[in-house]
Subunit: 347 residues, 2 copies
Amino acid sequence: MPQPRTGRAWHLASRPVGRPRPEDFALRELPVAEPADGEVTVRNLHLSVDPYMRGRMSDVKSYVAPYAVDAPMDGGAVGEVIASRAPDRPEGTLVVHHLGWREYATLPARHTTVIPADAGGDPSGGNDISPSAHLGVLGMPGLTAWAGLLEVGGLRPGDAVFVSGAAGAVGGLVGRIARLKGASRVVGSAGTPEKIRLLTEEYGFDAAFDYHDGPIRDRLREAAPEGIDLYFDNVGGEHLEAAIGALRVHGRAVICGMISQYNATEPPAAPRNLAQVIGKRLRLEGMLVNDHNASRPRFLEEMTGWLRSGEIDNRETVVHGIDNAARAFLDLLDGGNTGKMIVTLDS
Amino acid sequence: MPQPRTGRAWHLASRPVGRPRPEDFALRELPVAEPADGEVTVRNLHLSVDPYMRGRMSDVKSYVAPYAVDAPMDGGAVGEVIASRAPDRPEGTLVVHHLGWREYATLPARHTTVIPADAGGDPSGGNDISPSAHLGVLGMPGLTAWAGLLEVGGLRPGDAVFVSGAAGAVGGLVGRIARLKGASRVVGSAGTPEKIRLLTEEYGFDAAFDYHDGPIRDRLREAAPEGIDLYFDNVGGEHLEAAIGALRVHGRAVICGMISQYNATEPPAAPRNLAQVIGKRLRLEGMLVNDHNASRPRFLEEMTGWLRSGEIDNRETVVHGIDNAARAFLDLLDGGNTGKMIVTLDS
């Protein structure tokens, strides 16, 4: 297709305080640059919206730079090269890159990753893995779940595992990987009855509970009466406190996210039972997926195998159209997704 | 000496709520049993009082059984065998054992550890290590500091280290071991100007501050302006929150004690900045010294070497007389000690 002269991109219109509002985002027209030597222009097919982006909307020092006000936002995307001045990325190549939240992106080819033809990268669609899987099960959320559980958490066969946000992109994979790796019991929490059914009836969780149903500590005790060995935290707050109480001696907590706090305007309540880490010799460890890039080849091999065998499937909540990207992100923060939240740009 | 028919022992008279009072303890006369086959009777020379004993005064499930009301308390002690029916513990042997808080104890010889003759175990006192060192620098507090810093904390040369309760039995050793093991900067907190002088002028700390002097976060920033890599926590509460703020990427916190909370009647304030463990990939890990018994020979060899070379000395606060043991323990909880708090029973 010919390269368009302009394309739309979501801009941060204002920094939210607390819960973001639609007015904090603005969809604006931008020129699409022609590729310079070594560059490609990509037409985005799928955009990723992820919880960590909430942190980037605030002007605080963090592990990722904040979004600038009145500038285009960025994030994960899958797209097709439509103009190329890089010999190893001919037109038609499907790539993953980091200039999402927009229709078109021109960037150095070396900042893109080619999707293998047999894993969603065949532009004719001649295989059964969707290219969008590289934003989810085969992408950042997948590596987060795999490396967090195995490399940070040190999952051992026989461990009892609890994961919060268990119907989300990361959490749903944590539970299913734990199952495949020999966990003795897999327990999850989520926020709707439909999600609870998904966990127990489709994902193979032994038990799951809705965190709206009373004290999390009590629900967790019912779901894992003998306690847990490993907690994978996507939520923070009351979930973490309940997990510390349920962890057995030498238990581990992988602290991956604290979505319960992302919109908080006050410092959140911290676990009041933290002193239990001494008597039970617990280990709490924070993680960022970028520390685990060296493990990506092993992760991809194992996860692609599970996808092909059907032991894990690619769950997505798909929202259509660039106009709806900001709304999809707000829905994500409210737990409106099951599996990976994807914005698909229909052509 | 002949075996006496009775001896005095401290009993728990009532369970304290909050700060223990002298009336919660009672010194009572007990019969001294004659040793059965395989047993010894020990005349205690030195008793240990330790912060962990506060937890045992409450009736809560923990890693050590609680003291029973109206029963004798126990704890570390060093004594001399005065009657023996165990061939490998002749009369005159100096031993370490766990029936402290009393003048005399009769127990199986296998529950005692013989103090080596060249490390304080010569009853004639013919060497320069005090037998009481086996309750402190060569005992449980010493192993706690050594294993916590090296095995749990994974100290690396060049690390900047912060320790709270730095003038105490464990904390003072943490700082000095860190120095000997190549820490780039050693920083401590304590509760009096005299202790601060001890840390900087005698123990070789680079900086130290009195935690009464305003926000700990600010004092720590002055003492370690470039941040820290390892925090050894004896205190909990505001200290832990400040340390989480100061820890650099991939920093570690060894959670050894939370003395600020031992008398608390409400769940304590937990660190409000716990979410920083994610961005900085921090590891918080609880420890108990009993997990590290297998390392005791290596610890003893290294620490005895430091004692002999003078690189570490045996700091004690000595209180005399069994009558004063409960008072010594209460003083310990108030920070009245420098180094190991020892109760010496003068004969």
